[in-house]
Amino acid sequence: MTDLALIGPILAAMFAAATPLLFAALGELVVEKSGVLNLGVEGMMLVGAVCGFAVTVQTGSATTGFLVAALAGAATASLFAVLTLFLLANQVATGLALTLFGVGLSALIGQGFVGIPLDGLPKLYIPGLTDLPVVGQAVFGQDVMVYLAVAAVPLVHLFLYRTRVGLVLRAVGENHTAAHALGYKVLRIRFLAVLFGGAMAGLGGAFLSMDYTPMWAENMTSGRGWIALALVVFATWKPARAMLGAWLFGGVTILQLHVQGLGIDVPSQLLSMLPYLATVLVLVLISRDVARIRLNAPACLGKLFHPDA
């Protein structure tokens, strides 16, 4: 019976572990749908994480913290947007630069905040429902950010596939020349998409530093931004699949923590490799189907656009 009692907390932890990935992946999905490849997710998450944390410590308000984190993520993303959209810099190189810059900047901002604990967010409690065995805590006992991330999935889907702006955004990502000829503002749409991606990455990072492990440490995202990038490919640019992917990785992260608890003696470092190896594995599994990737990837992904050229 102990196994059953364990499943509840494990499921709950899995959804929490998936949340930062889900935020970042949904943001990047919209960015890539508009035809831009921003490899700077890791950097934007870190800046969001440290800014959200610092503001929460100073104001005591987690709401302000998350808002600032989203703004900070968007501000960092705007650097990328200006460089790639208006100064026509290579997107791969600029994305890498954004990550390197974000790592340094977040470490600089966060130097005074190392070792300060934070409370984290209050968890939902509905008498009866939250007490349900197995699923109670996982479904009815999370905090507001976990629910927000899940709610963002249908919202992003509706935006992309059921609104006019979403249609234009996808058109820009598929064929920027045609969209431009039709009079759509390619650069403006991409700029806003990149800002949205930055804000979502910022929220994902802030969830880590303010809630999941409520403290600041240098490089604390430890590759989650890159895993989010892989998730977008894994999801073949579909929001619902991104959610499944995030849960899968949340599961792998949690599994790694519980394997030793189950009495299996594997060095912790080798277990910590699991999320990274799993990322490589799912990338391989999804990418081998070249036709499927080609069918789903935005046709202008990563290509530069100059309105006068």
Binding site: L96, L100, G104, V233, Q269, Y276, V280, V284
Partner: protein
């Protein structure tokens, strides 16, 4: 239309190729000035402590070469790949693997070494790094998986592997359970080239890599193929160039060079295997490659500058209590400014509204 416009040049400006890195450095220094001021430090004193003071002693100059060595080795390999649109960003992991395999040999032959041990460690380090880079190469060619993401994921795996080894199999049996290996014997340590500093034989490897990288790109048919694939993949296809072979070659080569860099760190300045053997050389090497214009000689100069940012960060921390994280900010800013000013190579900046063509 808008007040400031970009007008495409008929031909890429040769002058700007050399001007923009200098412009980027100048803009970074200017931003550093503002940043230091905002943080409440005397900006001139801080910039002096960061960028000038480390160069005023023989020891400082030696450290510059010591830090530039792994950067050059990694960046020369990366640049060759970048030229062929092979985005290996796993140099950090490949460097780590080189340290694991090269250093493993030093431990395996502990107490029974000879003149042959160092050459063996170099080869072992190169093979370790190349093997680690072979994984993204294979996954890209066989399964179409992005080498950007796979090579990066393997960085984390390599660091965890190193961490496991120094806590387990590699740990010094007489070392009170510290996560470190034994100190290497003289047979497994790279000789010092410049008395009074820590400059070791690896610096010579770096120079050889520069020369070899230049020969490969500028003087061989393979180098020509690499350039064509990078500039116009379609043309390379029509010419019948074997693109798969180039992906293999560039990744294995850059992996091997990064592996040698890692081996050079543990057999040089560190002298043993520890859990942290690199302050991010593999990542900084990406900046070095771009700042050096993907050209081996440019890379040599860029590596010296980035090495200065590492030792400058340490020196300024000691002298003025500046946070060490500033090094990363400077490095990131420099790459940003470079990418931004590179627009001048292919475009002219025009002010004023566009005149209507009558």
């Amino acid at each position: 239309m808008s007040f400031i416009r970009l007008e495409p040049r008929g031909q890429a400006s040769k002058t700007m190729v050399y001007v923009t890195p200098l412009l980027a450095v100048a803009l970074t220094l200017l931003s550093g000035f503002i940043l230091f001021m905002a943080m409440g430090f005397d900006p001139l004193k801080a910039l002096y402590a960061f960028f000038v003071a480390p160069l005023t002693s023989v020891r400082g100059l030696g450290e510059l070469v010591v830090k530039a060595t792994p950067l050059v080795l990694c960046a020369v390999g990366l640049a060759i790949g970048f030229r062929a649109n092979v985005w290996n960003i796993g140099a950090e992991g490949q460097l780590t693997l080189g340290a694991i395999t090269g250093g493993g040999l030093a431990l395996a032959f502990y107490g029974e070494g000879g003149w042959w041990l160092l050459p063996l460690m170099v080869i072992g380090g190169a093979i370790g790094g190349a093997a680690w880079a072979a994984v993204p190469a294979y996954l890209r060619l066989r399964f179409n998986a992005s080498e950007i993401l796979t090579s990066l994921m393997l960085n984390y795996v390599a660091l965890l592997l190193l961490n496991y080894l120094v806590h387990g199999p590699y740990r010094d049996p007489d070392g009170f359970a510290f996560p470190e290996s034994r100190l290497f014997e003289a047979d497994a340590t790279l000789p010092i080239l410049w008395a009074g500093t820590r400059v070791h034989l690896g610096a010579l490897f770096a120079l050889l890599a520069v020369a070899g990288g230049w020969l490969l790109i500028a003087r061989t048919f393979i180098g020509f193929q690499i350039k064509v694939i990078g500039l116009t993949p379609a043309a390379a296809g029509y010419a019948g160039f074997d693109q798969k072979r180039i992906v293999w070659l560039t990744l294995l080569l850059s992996g091997a060079l990064a592996g040698i860099a890692g081996m050079g760190e543990i057999a040089g300045p560190i002298g043993q295997i520890t859990a942290s053997i690199s302050p991010g050389y593999g990542y900084t090497a990406i900046i070095v490659a771009f700042l050096g214009r993907l050209h081996p000689v440019g890379i040599l100069l860029a590596a010296l500058l980035m090495a200065l940012s590492f030792i400058g960060g340490e020196a300024a921390q000691i002298a003025m209590g500046l946070p060490k994280a500033i090094t990363g900010v400077f490095q990131g800013m420099l790459l940003f400014f470079l990418l931004a000013s590179d627009v001048l190579i292919r475009y002219r900046v025009r002010f004023g509204a566009r005149r209507a063509v009558a």
